[in-house]
């Protein structure tokens, strides 16, 4: 099995996760989307030196991962290619911002180090929340929720097709790399000279496949709506979840919970 097959299986695995059953899975997709947006916006709103304020925000995803039965380690495994990028965001801060803040033993903690940690944590938390949303909702129910929130049809269709296009493209890459390696047994990977035609062919083939897939949706009555996603009306428990999520975000945003907790011990 080549690496593309593995990636394809992992992508399909997101649908498996979305098909699980738990209290979080059963929540209304629109409510989950709103809760995730509120959470991400709250995380993003913390100041760049406010690491202690941000730390309690870890609780929300940890709790929801527990409740939904999705292991956090799976999220880190699936997002292993994106995480280094997220972690690299603040990597230059310690060199740019050398103002000393405190000393821990022999080590001086600078403002740059603190802001780097804050940025990294923000990135990881946003990824955790997005992954949880996808893993407990699924792309179709998510798109249905977006349409219910009056997001324009073309934007939702674009999102849906982009998601489907990734799978189509991975499948094409898998077929093409297999075909290449069978005719170039001594080679590791694809020869540099072949990259141009390989990418060109990949683009044309996956565009053809994506068009066929869209045609197949059209001939079965797809007109930008998601009747098949089985979205039910918003219920009391959905609103309760949203209210609790929003309240928790506001509480941790405006009440320095970590400092209060710390002051009890120091």
């Amino acid at each position: 099995m080549n690496r593309m097959d593995t990636a394809l299986r992992e992508l399909a695995g997101m649908d498996d996760l979305a098909a699980l059953s738990s209290g979080i899975h059963d929540l209304h997709p629109g409510v989950k989307l709103l809760a995730a947006i509120i959470y991400i916006a709250t995380v993003a709103s913390f100041g760049k030196y406010d690491l202690s304020g941000l730390l309690p925000m870890v609780l929300w995803p940890v709790l929801l991962y527990q409740l939904s039965g999705i292991p956090v380690s799976l999220c880190f495994r699936r997002l292993r290619f994106v995480l280094p990028l997220v972690l690299a965001v603040g990597i230059w801060n310690p060199f740019m911002d050398r103002q000393p803040l405190l000393r821990i033993g022999m080590m001086t903690v600078t403002a740059g180090m603190l802001s780097m940690c804050t940025l990294m944590l923000k990135g990881v938390l946003c990824l955790l929340a997005s992954f949880l949303l996808m893993a407990t909702t699924g792309i179709d129910r998510l798109c249905a929720a977006l349409r219910a929130m009056h997001v324009p049809e073309y934007a939702v269709t674009l999102l849906l097709l982009t998601y489907r296009y990734i799978a189509v493209m991975l499948r094409e890459v898998s077929v093409m790399t297999d075909a290449y390696s069978l005719r170039a047994p001594g080679e590791k990977g694809i020869r540099f000279r072949a990259w141009g035609s390989f990418l060109g062919q990949l683009l044309l083939r996956s565009m053809d496949r994506a068009q066929a897939l869209y045609d197949s949706m059209l001939v079965r009555g797809y007109r930008g709506e998601f009747y098949y996603a089985g979205t039910r009306p918003v219920q009391g428990r959905d609103l309760l979840f949203l209210a609790l999520s929003a309240a928790a975000c506001m509480f941790f945003r405006f009440v320095p919970a970590a400092q209060i907790l710390g002051s009890l011990f120091i």
């Binding site: 399909a12 489907r164 045609d215 001939v219 079965r220 098949y228």
Partner: protein, 241 residues
């Protein structure tokens, strides 16, 4: 039910795929569309569904002209089994794929479920209902793709190579299902024995034009005609000299 009147179509200028094609299919008729590779069979299907514009002529389906204004109405009446089930099955599970069409056409979940169960029962593939599309074999996917369309209960059924990649047992099942299905059917295939068993009439396409149109018995027994168009007699007529 279906009418092509002097239809021409070209993907590229000066390279027509269909040239002045005319034929009509009556309600309840089962017609086989045969021809060698590149004869234009799939193009006929795409034109009928409005997935391609025709450069000339007029196409009518279910009494409506195939144009932008009537596309939704026409597509609601036509079910199409595509040549490649990989592009037909795009939802996570077989069940969700089967639900897609009926729900888009406004059926209740109960009615859609009833149709889904009936279609799965018809093809004896109930065990595939909750299987993930990426985890079933090519043949199973082909059967599921047919079930997806049967669940829509269309007035007109188009099938592009419905028996390709099927084992003999499943091929036989599909043939029986096609034979017992009511409504208008148009089937393209290189499996001429299957065409023999399911279709009463055959249209032979060659280089984008209609070369023969007549009773299946007559067209499919004509060795000279078939061989002139890079086809072979079906096995059941192989003894004919």
């Amino acid at each position: 039910m279906i009418e092509f009147a002097h239809v021409s179509c070209a993907y590229e200028k000066d390279r027509p795929v269909l040239r002045d094609v005319s034929f009509s299919v009556q309600e309840g008729e089962t017609v086989g569309l045969i021809g060698c590779n590149g004869a234009g069979k799939s193009t006929v299907m795409k034109l009928l569904l409005g997935l391609l514009p025709c450069s000339d002529g007029k196409i009518t389906a279910a009494g409506l002209p195939v144009d932008k204004a009537h596309l939704a109405e026409i597509r609601a009446k036509i079910g199409v089994v595509l040549q490649d089930p990989e592009t037909q099955m795009f939802m996570p599970t077989v069940y969700e794929d089967m639900l897609f069409g009926p729900m888009n056409y406004g059926l209740s979940r109960e009615e859609a479920d009833r149709r889904i169960d009936a279609a799965l029962e018809q093809l004896q593939i109930g065990h595939l209902k909750h299987r993930h599309n990426h985890r079933i074999s090519g043949g199973e996917k082909r059967m599921a793709a047919i079930a997806v369309i049967l669940a829509m209960q269309p007035d007109i059924l188009l099938m592009d190579e419905p028996t390709a990649a099927l084992d003999p047992y499943n091929r036989r099942k599909v043939i029986e299902v096609i034979r017992n299905l009511p409504g208008t059917k148009m089937i393209t295939s290189h499996d001429l024995d299957m065409i023999c068993e399911t279709c009463e009439r055959v249209i032979l396409l060659c280089d984008g034009a209609v070369c023969a149109d007549g009773p299946a018995e007559q067209v499919l027994r004509d060795r000279e005609l078939l061989e002139a168009h890079r086809l072979e007699l079906p096995l059941r007529y192989a003894h004919i000299r």
